[in-house]
Amino acid sequence: MARIAVDPITRIEGHLRIEATVEGGKIVDAWSSSTAFRGIETILKGRDPRDAHHFTQRFCGVCTTVHSMASIRAVEDALKIEIPTNARLLRNLIMGIQNVQDHVIHFYHLHALDWVDITSALQADPKKTAQLAQSVSDWPNSSVKHFAAVKERIARFATAKSGLGPFQNAYWGHKAYKLPPEANLMAVAHYLEALEWQKEVIKIHAILGSKNPHPQTFLVGGMSTPVDPNSQNGINADKIAFIAKMLKKARDFVEQVYIPDVLAVAPFYLDWAGIGGGVGNFLSYGDFPEAGGNDVDSYFYPRGVIMGKDLANLMPFDEKKVTEYVTNSWYNYSGGYDKGLHPYDGETKDNYTGPKPPYEWLDTDQKYSWVKSPRYKDQPMEVGPLARVLVAYSAGVPEVKGAVDFVLQKLGAPASALFSTLGRTAARAVDCLVLAQRNEKWLTDLANNIATGDYEVHNKEKWDPATWPKEAQGYGTHEAPRGALGHWIRIENQKIANYQAVVPSTWNAGPRDAMGNKGPYESALIGTPIADPEKPVEILRTIHSFDPCLACAVHLMDGNGSEIIRVKAL
């Protein structure tokens, strides 16, 4: 038996480390550890609840809107505040384009290099690449000239004296890479195009909310972006036309590049439809209200729970059944850490008991992560695009069902193939496509609502803290790009008394709980093949398929814990 660790796991947000034991060329056990702590929940105590979203937005600078949304919804839930229709639609548009842009960045810039060998692209024939690209899509940039220019650019870069820069030291040439050079060149070209595309389409955040990352437009009770067709300072016809143009640009790229690329690459990696399944329990909070201010029953993506991969038995979500364990996390609970706490009663009392840095290995028999272990009905749950899509599929949402069936049919795969690393990657593409299309409806709804003369963006009724009850509590949820996000708040005397966020990567990356149940990353890695323990690209594939918002490491040692192979630089 050998033990592996990868630290840092790169191409993610934050600090994540994975340790795993390997036997017979497969992972037999795994541990997921987050190696950074900031304590923002503690920092929030005593502050104005209306400010919370500014703080929580800084949880993450990648999906930069999502914590604002959950935070504001938590305060609005606690204080029973209804938001105006314009605010709902502005929020849907901001959240919708966030999901679309984030998924594309994830696929091309954070995940693709696990499947695409950038050095192999240098062997490609641009003419054949153009033929391949034209056979899968009508994307206008698929000319021989374009691919030849990309090849030349990469070749010049690769042969420069200063070297490969961010592409050095990767697992290039690993036999797990299976794409022909032409497909690799096509993917590299789209990597560059997507980099250009993402900064354009996210301009919608600037128009609707000042900037990206970290838009500054959210408010408890609505939005600060004025809506007024007769003002240069508000959302007017000019700005709606600009957003429409960007939404079309977003949809075109997803339909003509992202989806065809996924469908072109997946057949080379169909074995990954049987790897990386994980816990088989899925949770989606649902999102994108289509009626009222935030009417949960009108959510475009429904809320629900699937246990044990049973798609035929979609269950309602019960907020009371969420708890967090710190049995194996570097925290203490005042009542002892073998008990799970509901977030209203949650505690963030850090207690680092890990090895003193610099260290070689974590003590995985003890506490080993800064991430807590959230559980639903005491079970680990996977969250994210796969969970969101499965719940919607199970509920029969036509747009989602159509897209899923289309992808499965193209790949010739059964629905059970979705419970895998490849399924997770495919579900993200489906989610992206569905939202890229839905965004345009929300923009039309916004224009139509403004046309009725409704310019309201903010409900001021309870803006003044003097109008609040002495005590209140509430929770807010959001389907972030990475999945089910919830914030829980308790307010006392107009200040934050307790604040707990249970974020998607906490659900997915959490360590074992008091019952010994593994978290979703840990479960998904079991059975993953490792062809070359010195270059564990397979670990990156499965971990990246979750789109982690953290950072990690892999080492190799024998069953007694002594190192037998140390991953070395080439």
Partner: protein
């Protein structure tokens, strides 16, 4: 948006052709060189020098993240001219960046260490995120090494360190009261090192590219204020250049979000804007290719480029105390003096972090 392409320039033809062969139109390249020269407050005669600087050796750059949210990396990925791809592929040699790099684990760490040794004293270090000194370094480790040790070693061997965002510049959100992890800024961790701070939450990508270009052009860092911020970007207050300033002077204030004054772009001072106390070039540079910035989108400035702003500038929706003269045609001279005093007091307030937050809650009716 300003279009600088009409400015007189004389960028050598061969340089323009080189960029054209890389897929960057000469218009875009001239536009970038001109805008960057302007951003750096250099005379337009420096445009060819800026263009030439981009043609030199790709200098090694190591970009590390500690207690960060990756917001600054993301801001960099939204850079417009040159784009992130152009900077990474043509302008610098990005030896390490957790968000972008292909390698992982020990191979990633080896890339960092190799670059540090091979280019000792010559690389540019970019730091994102604060550094936690508590828990013996256990609050943040990468590859088993504490952020404290990693950062000290990298800064010591760098030619220059650029701190992107408010966390690495001033401690940022992890250092907000009560600072649970003992987070510090890079300049507090390594006093005396050649450091430039580009605070903001997140950093404005244009200020970052301008700083890099300045370094490539002159082989040194731009002039800074006493907080280590380049004067070209932080030399004036938001309030000085704000597009709503005339409404402030005319006594026209939005009283609530979405009201008629708010929709017409009136001053956001009463809704809590911290522009009068914040030094940053947001009103002129803006974000996402100059499209917008918070005040343009109807939300007050939260002062995100000032030290300890999470404590001194919050509650964010309560108006600044002691700014005289609003409500009627104001005497600009009096306002200037009043604000200068308030700003000086805020800056003197290291340690008095929650002066505003814990101050008179009751005197303010939003």
């Amino acid at each position: 948006m300003k279009d600088h392409t009409s400015a007189p320039v004389s960028i050598p033809e061969e340089i323009l052709q080189k960029w054209e062969s890389r897929g960057v139109s000469r218009r875009d390249f001239i536009k970038f060189c001109t805008a960057t020269t302007a951003a750096l407050a250099l005379p337009m005669s420096f445009i060819p020098k800026v263009a030439e600087a981009l043609e030199g050796q790709r200098p090694p750059v190591i970009w590390v993240e500690y207690q960060s949210c990756s917001g600054d990396s993301e801001a960099f990925l939204r850079a417009n001219a040159p784009t992130a791809a152009e900077i990474i592929l043509e302008t610098i040699s990005l030896e390490y960046s957790e968000v972008v790099m292909a390698a992982a684990g020990h191979l990633a760490e080896d890339a960092k260490h190799n670059a540090m040794k091979k280019h000792a004293g010559k690389y540019i270090l970019i730091v994102e995120g604060s550094i936690p000194e508590g828990a013996g370094g256990g609050y943040c480790t990468v590859g088993g090494v504490s952020a404290v040790e990693s950062c000290k070693e990298l800064v010591k061997n760098a030619a220059a360190t650029i701190c992107v965002g408010s966390c690495s510049s001033f401690g940022g959100i992890p250092a907000a009261a009560p600072n649970p992890s003992g987070a510090v800024s890079v300049m507090d961790l390594v006093p005396g090192a050649p450091i430039i701070n580009l605070p903001g939450c997140p950093v404005n990508a244009q200020n970052l590219t301008a700083t890099i270009v300045h370094y490539l052009t002159f082989k040194n860092l731009p002039a800074v204020d006493r907080l280590g911020r380049p004067k070209f970007a932080y030399g004036k207050r938001i309030h000085d250049n704000c597009e709503r300033r005339s409404h402030f002077d005319a006594g026209q204030y939005a009283e609530g979000f979405g009201d008629a004054g708010h929709r017409q772009g009136w001053c956001l001072y009463k809704l809590g804007c911290k522009g009068p106390e914040t030094f940053h070039n947001c009103p002129t540079v803006r974000y996402n290719e100059g499209l917008s910035w918070p005040i343009m989108a109807g939300h007050g400035c939260i002062g995100c480029s000032e030290p300890e702003f999470w404590d001194t500038m919050s509650p964010f929706y309560r108006r600044l105390p002691n700014v005289p003269g609003f409500g009627i045609e104001s005497n600009a001279y009096d306002i200037g003096i009043g604000l200068a005093a308030a700003t000086a007091a805020a800056f003197a307030g290291h340690g008095v972090v929650s002066a505003f937050r814990k101050g008179s809650d009751k005197d303010d009716k939003e």
